[in-house]
Symmetry: C2
Subunit: 559 residues, 2 copies
């Protein structure tokens, strides 16, 4: 190529990153970027926060304007232009002007596809009613925002309890709208395990949000000017505003029709250089599949952070560089009212599906030194391969300090670290920032204790099953008398405070299945150590204690 | 050992951790812990915050009481007992009762030394005056606290601008005391590079703290009831209160006299299992040296977080376990008024001393998405081995989000990650927590750009030298006209805004040494790319831009 011609399809995160990087790699290249919509390079992930006014100025969402793209990067940006066909033999794309309907052709040396994804819209009655919106683009945001201003809706139904649904929920709530969530699954935020998702649901319920789980959308109606949402379970919900947030699908039609390989996940298949099955065509962003570094399998990771990296690599590689993208570990974070919830790697259920036998632990340390003002408890779940010891995933919930711990775990998982190796990390310690034992280090120590054979965990879900199946089990609550009186016990438990356990060993059966618990799992670990050393052979410790139990406790009399 | 007898010398972080872990490993062991002082297991790192009342309740600093140690862990805690001699042949220690002066012997199977460190006290005139204090133990804190209550000092001099000195400074300031710092070096916080330390100094100066650098303490006097501090440079400072914070020395006398091997750093030499040169004697905490994972050499890391890990390992290993401590990366963090400053790995100067040829980069990204309310700029310095690409260290300053980035860098350095590999990390992204390009990922991209040959940095210090040496140099400021008018330019620079650079290439000399700069280094990187591709062969980019410049800018006329 003397003067290479780069054509980019799509001008938001991935496309815009590719265009800017391509220019940095070549002053001579001709770079044309087509965008179907009216906007390029806007802050997709910020859109929900404009609804509530948390982000006040719409202009702040516009990261790089068309004008700057031209002036600074000499990129020929053409909005309202949809690329509708790729002729790979002739190395030409066909473009439709979405305003006039006319078409034209443009040749390319290298093509970069960044068409994004589209919201899933089920073909159900009422789905096109004027108070029903999707929430994906800046245009979508403007429409919802305008509707909020003009119509002042009192009640909204969000169909779908995924990440975007929850973010929109919070921002509508901040705006004073009553919000209900309709979700087909038995939990919100399906990338989390059920136990962690339930904590978020309860938190949102306490704010007044109503959840209708395990029921899909059946229809939406306009009954004399009043919106009604009908669920498959027969519920009828009033709705002045409906947001469809049922997930997204990669936009692959263009690639598919051009005969580019599509992966089993439904995303365009690319190699580490973001090259499709046609080496002159690259693809980035929501439309591609990525390699999950834990499973080694392809998965979809429709995140702006991924699109930016992929676009940067494709922009360089389209000009002959060899910048590899080495996969992702599925890190996700979101704010739900006063809580932050984050996940990296595999969830417990995902790890089972991937064929692992997971060790599951819960811990509840403070996010900073407990004696320093403002310390808040964290709820940290780790998932580890029992066989190899490799850390597979983590989930963290709390008011503060969640993002830090998930980023450390994401970095550890990127490096295939063992759970117990977390203990070795030299993390920053001063009372305003952490405890002498950082939560991540504690998770590592808890893991090491397991692999040293010092304890065996039982999860709340498994203990609950055993109790319900009336399995023979000694269940010992080792908390203080005060805690037991105030909070109640797990049904069937007997109470022996930790510091008195050594005096009661002769009343316990050494060969009976025994489960010990406390509030967090720490004191019951100490109890486990006493019992195991005294010849109790079948002891398990309820990991996470009553703070992870998640089911009712029973108040009653205590000796 | 039928019933092993573990004797522990020192009952604070390392010793207390060892005792508790030893009990978890053996119900049968006899565990005796001797502590010279009156307190065990208190929150050493929290002590400064009690002076100001940030931590209100002294009891919160007492983590595990003697009573609980006995009741829960069956550890025989003996306070006011100083172990004064080890007879390795007889496996016996000699203990002095510091209240009565009597001595006794105690035999051991395994001995764990955790005697900590002592503040350096120079033998200077006036050092024992009643208004002169050290600040290391709970007893020290009580004495200073009592003095504050009773004497209401107006002016304090802190001798030594290290970590503890700065923390005490802030807490005295919060109490309304005027504080001056006397420091022998030409910078505070010597684990930082000078450029980063200066930012902290300026921040503290803006709060009213006075610094007297490059001058050591000469004498302290009581002139008719008024305290006076004299510096080596001849300054005389009024001081109602003097805190000596001149660093600490490992307490190794006991080990040394017993013939245990002492390392070149002055700390007790131990292996990965925390075993000294006598396999029956372990040592942990401030008194030992650790392996620095970047240099592979021994160093001192007197941190509570390290002591806890080491103590846990020693407690287990004293009972036959094999828990290894795999070294540290020198992570440090502290709060100084509104700023957090943190460091991991090697500083620039430390990397040079260790024989590396460092690539030094500065970036100034926002800590969260710039469009989200509350975003604050970070100042991140990375130090990388030019030859191998390996990340050697990082320093971060900012109001928010510092601890997260340093912990990710610490985890990356633990794994010998390359700078450019940071680009690959799948860090948690949502607007309240990060930007689509997290600062750590940006640091990785900046590094990749260097190793791809796309730019060469010049540091402020080197540029300043060149300017002062009047080297021939084209210095180009590519910021906007507005920025230049408001903030001034680096002396000798010409102004060509980035977006007009392409039109002015013919006025520039392609073979002349050229340095470009902007506010952060980003726009000047774009300028670098334009120039390099247009045949400019000697272009460097001022890394960190004017935000890292640190020397005066010159206001003047702009074309």
């Amino acid at each position: 190529m003397g003067k290479p011609k780069i054509v980019i399809v799509g001008g938001v995160a991935g496309g815009a990153s590719a265009a800017a990087k391509a220019r940095r790699c070549s002053e001579d290249a001709e770079i044309i970027m087509f965008e179907k919509g009216p906007d390029i390079a806007y802050a997709n992930c910020g859109l929900p926060y404009y609804l509530s006014g948390v982000i006040e100025d719409r202009d702040n969402l516009l990261i790089v304007t068309e004008k700057l793209f031209h002036r600074r990067f000499r990129v020929d940006v053409r909005i309202h232009r949809e690329v509708i066909r790729i002729d790979r033999a002739r190395k030409v794309v066909m473009i439709k002007n979405v305003e006039t309907g006319t078409t034209e052709e443009e040749s390319y040396d290298r093509l970069i596809l960044s068409p994004g994804s589209s919201p899933v819209i089920p073909p159900l009655p009422g789905i096109n009613l004027p108070f029903v919106f999707t929430f994906k683009t800046l245009e979508d945001m403007d429409l919802v925002h305008q509707y909020l201003q003009q119509r002042d809706p009192q009640e909204a139904v969000i169909v779908g309890g995924g990440l975007i649904g929850m973010e929109v929920m919070e921002n509508l709530w901040l705006k004073g709208v009553k919000v209900s969530i309709v979700e087909k699954l038995d939990q919100i935020l399906p990338f989390l395990d059920w136990d962690m998702a339930e904590l978020i649901r309860h938190h949102a319920e306490a704010k007044g949000v109503r959840f209708h789980l395990s029921q899909g959308l059946k229809a939406i109606e306009d009954r004399n000017g009043s919106g009604i949402v009908q669920t498959e379970a027969g519920q009828t919900l009033k709705a002045d505003l409906v947001i469809l947030s049922l997930g997204i699908r990669p936009n692959t039609a263009l690639a598919r029709e051009a005969g580019l390989e599509i992966g089993e996940t439904g995303g365009i298949k690319v190699n580490e250089l973001m090259q499709t099955s046609d080496p002159d065509i690259f693809a980035v962003g929501d439309c591609v599949e990525s390699i999950h570094r834990v499973t080694g399998s392809p998965f979809l990771t429709p995140m702006g952070s991924a699109a930016n990296k992929q676009g940067r690599a494709a922009g360089a590689n389209a000009l002959g560089r060899k910048i590899a993208i080495k996969g992702f570990v599925g890190t996700v974070i979101l704010k739900v009212f006063d809580l932050t919830i984050a996940k990296t790697g595999l969830s417990e259920i995902e790890s089972r599906r991937a064929g692992f036998d997971p060790l599951v632990t819960f811990i509840h340390p403070d996010h900073i030194a407990g004696y320093y003002p403002g310390s808040k408890p964290l709820n940290m779940k780790t998932i580890t391969d029992c066989t190899s010891g490799r850390l597979l995933g983590g989930q963290v919930i709390g008011e503060e300090g969640v993002d830090k711990r998930i980023d450390v775990l994401a970095t550890a998982i990127y490096h295939r670290m063992d759970l117990q190796e977390l203990l070795q990390l030299d993390l920053a310690y001063a009372p305003p920032y952490s405890a002498a034992r950082d939560p991540v280090v504690i998770a590592g120590a808890v893991g090491q204790n397991f692999f040293e054979g010092d304890w065996i965990p039982i999860t709340p879900a498994v203990l609950k099953e055993k109790i319900e199946a009336r399995e023979d089990l000694a269940l010992i609550d080792v908390r203080s008398r005060m805690e037991v009186l105030q909070e109640g016990m797990i049904p069937g438990a007997i109470h022996i405070p930790l510091d008195r356990l050594r005096d009661h060993l002769d009343q316990l059966d050494k060969v009976r299945d025994t489960v010990v618990y406390c509030r967090t799992g720490l004191r019951s670990y100490l109890a486990t150590r006493i019992l195991m050393q005294k010849g109790f052979t079948r002891v398990k410790n309820l990991t996470g204690g009553t703070m992870s139990w998640g089911y009712p406790l029973k108040k009653g009399s205590v000796k």
